[in-house]
Chain length 281, copies 4
């Protein structure tokens, strides 16, 4: 499907600063960026950063040389394809057969301290033999036990905190899902994106698990159909996929995010079912 | 200088398992592996893993198909060069001029929660203008305030814990150093290696900071001259540089590590001074 | 029933020190200390501490004036009565009707951070209306989900940690039970005692809840019948009921604990059932 | 000096609830409550709670039987005397000579986890021999290193967090001071009060240490002269001295606190000096 996404950000620079934005949709075989603009007023020096070290991310480094209000607007048109993969094909991949690039997603991270959750994860989900069913059980347990509500967590909240606090936003739902999967030796990574049908419109976070040779998208918030997502980035957790990283004295003023369908009708996949998984390749 | 390093590991496999070892010296322009052997008894299927996703690491994946005692021995001869760089050249690199591959080392991580240390780091080291002097002050503050002693920390101890617990091993010293540097926007990464003159002989951990365009080695334990190190790996923290990652039912029996000078005499650099930094390229 | 309990402690004093022991059985209407001896070799100055501030505790303050090995032996004969109270009488007491002395046991404490568990406790146990059934459900959930195993927790482990780590000793089981009860506004306190039929013989910890006007003993480890306990102390958590508090340079050498039935036969109560609660008055 | 203090609280009850307020000045030899009124509109059933278990606290239990807005106003006139004690008399009290009632204030608590701070406290303050000078050094270190600023901490923040976060309000300053003192075996307790000259007017928290046989008031915020305080309560930490404890569905609407001098002129003590300590007996 074809989506037009946009993000409008306003900052006030109090001194010369550097801003790294990570808001451009990722460009891949499965998700093609057809056209895009990245504008600022006043006009600022921008540099696109890409490297193997960043994996699935596109960073825009913006240099702000003088104080003042900065308006930034990204707009892009993206055509993406979500592949449905039958549950039967979403088997557990043996460590020895995993691509090397997948291994980092088994380690604990800042917000996903899977090393503290082995017994919890095994006690709760260990009796489920099938890997994809385990993931679905994790997703549903989070959905059923954690209240989606803003204002109770902060950027330092970890997925482990969310187990006992049982309240949070999309970021917390994703971190907890990742932590539980990694504790069960299922590679899991953080996913940020634009989200069609998310109300109110905002960036969204969920996670992906590596099963059957594909990265399968999982959204424990169940706020919207997973095929309404436009991928911005994947990473270890919220640390390396931050939408904005600020270096200097820059204060945030406002953000407006939009995602709309450009052509045809939105054909919602059955994202609540466990009969198949969905992958953005 | 030329070092011969070796590691002998013994495990008991209780079932089929997979083991990923990260004990081979890194091979680069500045550190050349002249020859090496990696043996196991019984003979096991081994696979070398290398990819951009692993950055400076060489993983050996070992498949253990049946129960029993496993003996593993790595031996390598390495020639390495440590470059001394005058303090005056170890300037702070602006974000906009950093290679993209350096950026991940500014983020908080599992054991280096720099996001919680901004005020602490600025209050304690913010009055030092020069970046390298800040790093040396951090190194010396850790050395002076944290007792080097085994048995008081565990694999879940973070650098942040070490600020108040003030006791730990090389791993804890390194995590704390990294956390403080990142809190001050100085890229910092974890370094594991063989360590000539470390008594008793063992693997060692310290950290590197990115200053003046080079990664400079810093050892807050001051246990040995930094040019006696043979680099195994660098990474985010202990999560992605683990010497052994076990998947399956494998129990650790013993480890013996050795590092010896092969030719000539060891010329110790003045690693306590702040007049220059040392880099493994 | 009549029990003889004893504790033999050996310390080595490296300098003049003060030791406060909390190992004497509590003396009350329901548990009468018939005779006891508290000896040390060499003979040391001992002072019994009692005050309202200590609530249900008997402290023995021992002054050690010179270095050397200290042998301490407490022996006591205790007759106690455990009252069975039918579940129907174990109703929730309204805050306004609670004795003032019960209120402190509603607050979070060092090892029972109930203030972080409101949603977790309500989500898991909130659908059970009856207060005593809630407590039994908490006890059984801990028993079913937490592995009883030494060596995985330490004195700084909290009940909250135990929710996700799911492994621990009697102390951890008790702290978790207390934290969950307090999160549900059920007063709960820590209980230490001698434990007949505990194998191997050792001090034991469990907890009490205030229901129907009585403190009801609950042991989530289910290691032994609750009427085999001889109460030493009750308190907020392990902080104020420590068996030994050391001030000075005293190193622990050994501990031997015994509890045996003096007369007749042990009549085990049905401590697994939820049909009644048991109270030490 | 004679102060008139008042607190006006407004709540909205959404259902029948119980409220325990701890806002009445403590009545003792050194601080006499001359007259007071405690009113509510609508008129509610109130019960004064006092017991040895509460130590220095006066609780007012208020039963709210029906929904609606509740206005509560306490007004009291208090005459208090602050005794200056020369530093030379503020000696360290040996454990064996401490009143039993003082011992609980040596234990770690929910917000003052002194058991994690032994090395930190000894490394930083251990070289100061005199107990009162240590306390003054702790007070000044907190004052110099922690920024007084609202909005960065929450009710779950501990004194230990404040060591690295270095920002907080009076509550955080007090918790950190208590934690450090207890880590050095100096009994310390939490103090809440009305605060003349505090701008804006509000309740205030600081702490007391037990030295030379007296409880000495210490305020690491240095926001106001310590003899402008009217003591409400002392306790373990913020857990047992909460100004309001809510049981039921009661939502906070507003609070207004006042403290004014009734007669004569305010004679400010030299609260910044270390030449003497000040005690509320």
């Amino acid at each position: 499907m074809k989506f037009e996404v946009s993000a409008t950000l306003v900052y006030e620079a109090l001194s010369a600063s550097t801003l790294i934005l990570n808001i451009e949709p990722f460009n891949s075989i499965g998700q093609v960026v057809l056209n895009e603009t990245f504008l600022s007023a006043p006009e600022l020096k921008m540099k696109s950063l890409r490297s193997e070290a960043l994996t699935e991310k596109r960073f825009k480094l913006i240099e702000i040389t003088s104080p003042g209000v900065i308006n930034i607007k990204y707009t892009g048109v993206v055509e993406n394809t979500v592949t449905a993969i039958p549950a039967a094909k979403l088997f557990d991949v043996a460590i020895a057969k995993m691509p090397v690039s997948v291994l980092p997603y088994l380690s604990p991270s800042r917000y996903c301290q899977s090393d503290k959750l082995y017994k919890f994860a095994y006690n709760k989900f260990g009796n489920i033999n099938n890997a994809y069913e385990r993931v679905i059980a994790i997703r549903d347990w989070i959905f059923n036990n954690v209240e989606y509500r803003a204002g109770f967590t902060n950027p330092q909240t970890t997925g482990n905190d969310t187990i006992t606090q049982q309240v949070g936003v999309c970021r917390d739902f994703a971190h907890l899902g990742i932590a539980l999967c990694r504790a069960l030796t299922i590679p899991a990574r953080y996913f940020t994106g634009y989200a069609y049908r998310l109300q109110p419109q905002d960036f969204h976070a969920c996670f992906e698990v590596y099963l059957g040779g594909s990265w399968i998208i999982i959204d424990a918030t169940k706020l919207m159909p997973v095929n309404g997502l436009v991928k911005i980035a994947t990473g270890i957790d919220a640390t390396d996929t931050a939408l904005a990283s600020i270096f200097g004295n820059l204060s945030f003023i406002s953000l407006e995010v939009k995602s709309q369908l450009l052509e045809g009708q939105f054909e919602e996949v059955d994202y609540q079912s466990a009969a198949q998984g969905y992958s953005y390749s």
